[in-house]
């Protein structure tokens, strides 16, 4: 079975989604255990794959038994070997944490919800694991479609926001598809490695250049990179918390992964950084993305929306880091995929818990939460520290690499933007903490005059949250190992 991990990784969630879908019509109580078992299996396979990659190097899995340029193949190398466990574990933890919330929000549609959830995870895992450019598009659409479904079930404004997301997402996916078509027209191949092999003589071609730009624009649309970010905040804010805490951590990050995959595997660093002279412009865009994300977040009086703008800023981090054009920047970007997924998960799960208990996430709803939900808020503090970039939480270390990369490539503006965004994050989060901490005001100190005592979310929601918080710190402490044993090999030698 060890050999079949790459297939199992994607197929198990898919099959279980179908089983869950049927179970939703037969016996609703079966849905949750099946879903958890499937995601657990997927996580197990993902970790197993990572270990195998560490042992043996790149793994190629031929689907249908056809060898790569003919059939579709999975390539698991260090890059996606690292991202896979993150995706599956984030999905698993979030599912466990949101069981109660889902039952509360969709008592009649548990089956469809879990089905969509599992399909979404299938899509995301598939995107990460696949080695075929077109297969990636199909999986992209699975992740997107299920994402629309999950996101649209929320507040009153959710459908409109989601429809906008759908428009943007479709344009993005179609652009990607078009880019793949351009590559196909000049190379005749769809396999990523194969395309990379065929491309070098064609680097000067207009078509390849356009293919690259179109693919990038498509992927940027999907990941909400700055000028193309407009759909993200509303779509994530008004969604239900179980969906937003799955999608916010994973979708943008997986898209960043796709971008890095395009840059490193298909187009190779030589083309991206030597033949093209775009990296300065993109880094400047990233700078604007970070600054705008931070500033727009400042303007929000609503925790969830504020977090969505932080997500926008974080996308700027990763894109900028990847485009700095040196090893440190790329390391930072890849590391930040992992870290940002985890910390975004953490803060969105916190929002989920708050919504579960308080039924709101505007700043006014947060009053006195430190007393009411100490564990949840504790996790929020850890998540916030990570987003701010306080050691030893993991957020610090990716920021470290990004800044070092910025310094060594001379993009001091990018460094300044990172620092600025950290500072703004401090303001953002401590504004929230203040509200949670001070209000309602205790006018005369001395006695506990807060109404009500502790009113924490259920254990099943708090424990995964705390696990995430601990993971944030552990990942931070093991950054060195991750970089030395995994990321270092994920970046091609050619990149200095």
């Amino acid at each position: 079975m060890n050999e079949q991990y790459p297939a199992l990784l994607v197929v198990v969630p898919l099959l279980s989604a179908l089983v869950v879908s049927i179970a939703g019509w037969v016996n609703k109580r079966l849905c949750f255990p099946v879903a958890v078992a499937a995601l657990g299996m997927a996580a197990w396979s993902a970790v197993g794959l990572l270990l195998r990659v560490l042992d043996e190097g790149v793994i190629v899995y031929k689907l249908g038994g056809w060898s790569p340029p003919m059939g579709i193949a999975y390539y698991i190398d260090y890059l996606n070997g690292l991202v896979l466990p993150v995706v599956s574990i984030v999905a698993l933890l979030n599912l466990i944490a949101n069981k109660k919330g889902i039952e509360q929000q969709f008592p009649d549609k548990i089956g469809p919800f879990y089905t969509l959830y599992l399909l979404m995870v299938t899509g995301l895992l598939g995107i990460v694991v696949t080695g075929d450019a077109f297969n990636l598009y199909v999986l992209l659409e699975i992740a997107a479609l299920t994402g629309y479904g999950l996101l649209a079930m929320g507040e009153e404004r959710a459908p409109l926001a989601t429809l906008n997301y759908l428009y943007m997402g479709t344009i993005g996916a179609c652009f990607y598809l078009l880019g793949v078509g351009y590559l196909y027209i000049v190379t005749g191949s769809l396999n990523m490695v194969d395309i990379a092999r065929l491309l070098p003589p064609l680097y000067q071609s207009n078509t390849v250049l356009a293919a690259f730009i179109i693919c990038m624009v498509g992927v940027w649309l999907k990941m909400a990179f700055f000028p193309l970010h407009a759909w993200l905040p509303n779509a994530y804010t008004y969604a239900n918390s179980a969906a937003s805490s799955l999608i916010a951590p994973l979708v943008t990050k997986v898209m960043v992964y796709v971008m890095i995959r395009l840059m490193l595997t298909i187009f190779t660093t030589e083309f991206v950084f030597t033949t093209l002279a775009l990296s300065d412009a993109v880094v400047w865009l990233a700078v604007i993305a970070i600054v705008m994300g931070a500033v727009l977040a400042l303007a929000e009086r609503n925790l969830k929306k504020m977090l969505t703008y932080i997500v926008v800023a974080e996308v700027g981090y990763m894109v900028g880091g990847a485009w700095l054009g040196n090893r440190d920047g790329m390391t930072g970007a890849i590391l930040h995929i992992v870290n940002d997924a985890l910390m975004t998960l953490c803060v969105f799960m916190v929002v989920g818990n708050i919504v579960y208990k308080v039924k709101g996430y505007a700043f006014e709803d947060l009053k006195g939460l430190f007393r009411k939900m100490p564990f949840t808020m504790g996790a929020l503090v850890v998540g916030a520290m990570s987003i701010i970039g306080v050691p030893p939480t993991c957020g610090f270390f990716s920021k470290w690499y990004l800044i070092v990369g910025a310094i060594s490539s001379g993009h001091y503006c990018f460094m300044a933007a990172l620092i600025f965004s950290s500072l703004v994050s401090v303001v953002l989060f401590f504004r929230v903490f203040e509200i949670c901490f001070y209000e309602p005001f205790s006018n005369h100190h001395g006695h506990d005059n807060h109404p009500g005592g502790m009113d924490e979310a259920p254990v099943s929601m708090v424990v995964p949250l705390l696990v995430v918080a601990v993971i944030l710190i552990l990942v931070g402490l093991y950054t060195g190992d991750i970089v030395n044993h995994v990321i270092q090999f994920a970046i091609p030698e050619a990149m200095v």
Binding site: L8, Y61, G64, P112, L139, G188, T207
Partner: protein, 277 residues
């Protein structure tokens, strides 16, 4: 917005035109796309899968994995439509007035304040906006539908030799039921193909596909490597591939049919299932 749109369109269009300048000429037999991978497919498909329709062979075998997810896309669209639109009985406000129609005489009865007629053969429940189905349309469709269905099944079964396959057949099959709903009444169609059945068939269809793949996996070959089915079907591996393609096409057909009907039911009745288009 219009000006922004125009600017974006002009910029993108310029980029695309710029790129198109370097394309190989249209319908050039020597273009890379025609000379790199496709000769293998064209020349080897018959040997390797014994399916004359190369598109079907590539679709369901060489790139069968894509197609599995394509089916999943359709399935998830169905689930999403259901998830978004279906108003469950709990949320649905029970109408004050119910309408029934006596089947034999066509007399419509209006019952207020929640009175019900127990389900019987004589009366059927109808909707407030019920319109009597048109005789010509109804009769015409009544006769057409079975043939449409037969044609759909033919398309699924003959995907190997002529254009078509699971997806097209499934769509036509679904369209036949949609035609029933349009020409008669949504209730008629739903009575024939109940919601639960559709939902389960959707999943079953995709399950047939993915399950075939998983069966190959259990038979110690890679996922979707149909030649593993040779053991089970007692044929040689190449024929096994051909049969495997048929099996997955059937799965696709079932899934697509059920999903199309499911989406139509939800969209046309806005999730209430009371009255459709």
């Amino acid at each position: 917005m219009k000006i922004i749109g125009l600017i974006i369109v002009v910029v993108t269009g310029a980029l695309l035109i710029y790129a198109a300048a370097d394309f190989p000429a249209w319908s050039d037999p020597a273009s890379p796309a025609s000379t790199y991978l496709s000769p293998h497919f064209i020349e080897k498909t018959m040997e390797e899968t014994s399916v004359p329709n190369i598109v079907t062979a590539v679709l369901a075998d060489y790139r069968g994995f894509d197609t599995m997810f394509e089916t999943t896309v359709i399935f998830s669209a169905g689930v999403v439509c259901f998830f978004l639109l279906r108003i469950s009985r709990r949320e649905e406000e029970e109408p004050e007035t119910r309408y029934y129609r006596h089947v034999l005489t066509g007399v419509t009865i209006q019952l207020k304040e929640g009175y019900k007629i127990p389900p019987s053969d004589d009366f059927e429940r109808i909707d407030a906006a019920w319109t009597p189905p048109d005789l010509i349309i109804k009769t015409g469709c009544r006769i057409l539908i079975p043939f449409v269905q037969l044609f759909a099944l033919y398309v699924i079964a003959h995907g190997h030799h002529s254009p078509g396959g699971g997806f097209q057949g499934g769509v036509i099959l679904g369209a036949s039921i949609i035609l029933l709903a349009i020409s008669h009444d949504l209730r008629t169609a739903v009575r024939r193909m109940s919601e639960k059945l559709m939902a389960i068939l959707c999943a079953v269809g995709v399950f047939i596909y993915a399950g075939t793949g998983a069966l190959c996996l259990l038979l110690k070959l890679n996922f979707l490597d149909y030649s593993a089915l040779a053991e089970v079907l007692h044929v040689d591996p190449i024929t096994a591939r051909s049969h495997g393609i048929l099996i997955v096409e059937i799965g696709v057909g079932i899934a697509v049919m059920a999903t199309m009907i499911w989406i139509y039911n939800n969209v046309s009745s806005a999730g209430r299932y009371r009255q459709g288009l």
